[in-house]
Symmetry: C2
Subunit: 114 residues, 2 copies
């Protein structure tokens, strides 16, 4: 069982509909976790790496960039040296947290059933 989500499919494309496009917001094995941890408040790049022990810098960077481009995450870089960058959920981005929570609820309920 592998957990992935294509924003656009392999070559042709899976479902060119609104649902798929919206689901791409949380696409990627780490994306939900990134959003989840940002739900607790602003977080620095390095802090997120610590929150998500096994994530690679490459992937964290890519996810944050994608989320920023979509308007889910806000990036604030302090012009210091060494650099310090703070990420936070936008107002709309914060709405994803309860949505993720709802899915977790279902998962928990399914687990209880067996």
């Amino acid at each position: 069982m592998s957990l992935r989500m294509r924003k656009s499919p392999a070559s042709p494309l899976p479902p060119p509909c609104a649902l798929t496009e919206c689901m791409s917001l949380i696409a990627g094995a780490w994306t939900p976790n990134v959003i989840w941890h940002l739900g607790g408040g602003p977080r620095r790049f390095g802090e997120l790496r610590a929150d998500l022990p096994r994530i690679s810098a490459r992937v964290l960077s890519a996810r944050l960039k994608a989320l920023e481009a979509r308007g889910v995450v806000h990036r604030r870089a302090a012009p210091t040296s060494p650099p310090s960058v703070e990420y936070s959920l936008t107002e709309v981005g914060r709405e994803l947290v309860p949505a993720l929570h709802a899915i977790v609820e279902v998962g928990a309920r399914l687990k209880r059933l067996r």
Copy 2:
């Protein structure tokens, strides 16, 4: 942009936490769409193929089987010839629909913002 979700990661594993495990419920490029269409009521295999024009039988079959194993979908096969199989969301599975809806809401809102 590609839309994928690993239920369990490539080899090591991304986030071995509850969130990830729950998110794996809707993992796969097509899974949310399958659940979405089943939300309208029971559906036959062939009907789902028609609902999801580009999905391959291989993937639809795999997704339905995974959802069934997790307790999200119920499968009822009529012992006729040719066979007729009806899929439907379980009671718990139905709870995923509003969760997906919530994500779509956020997606719509983000779209309006730009």
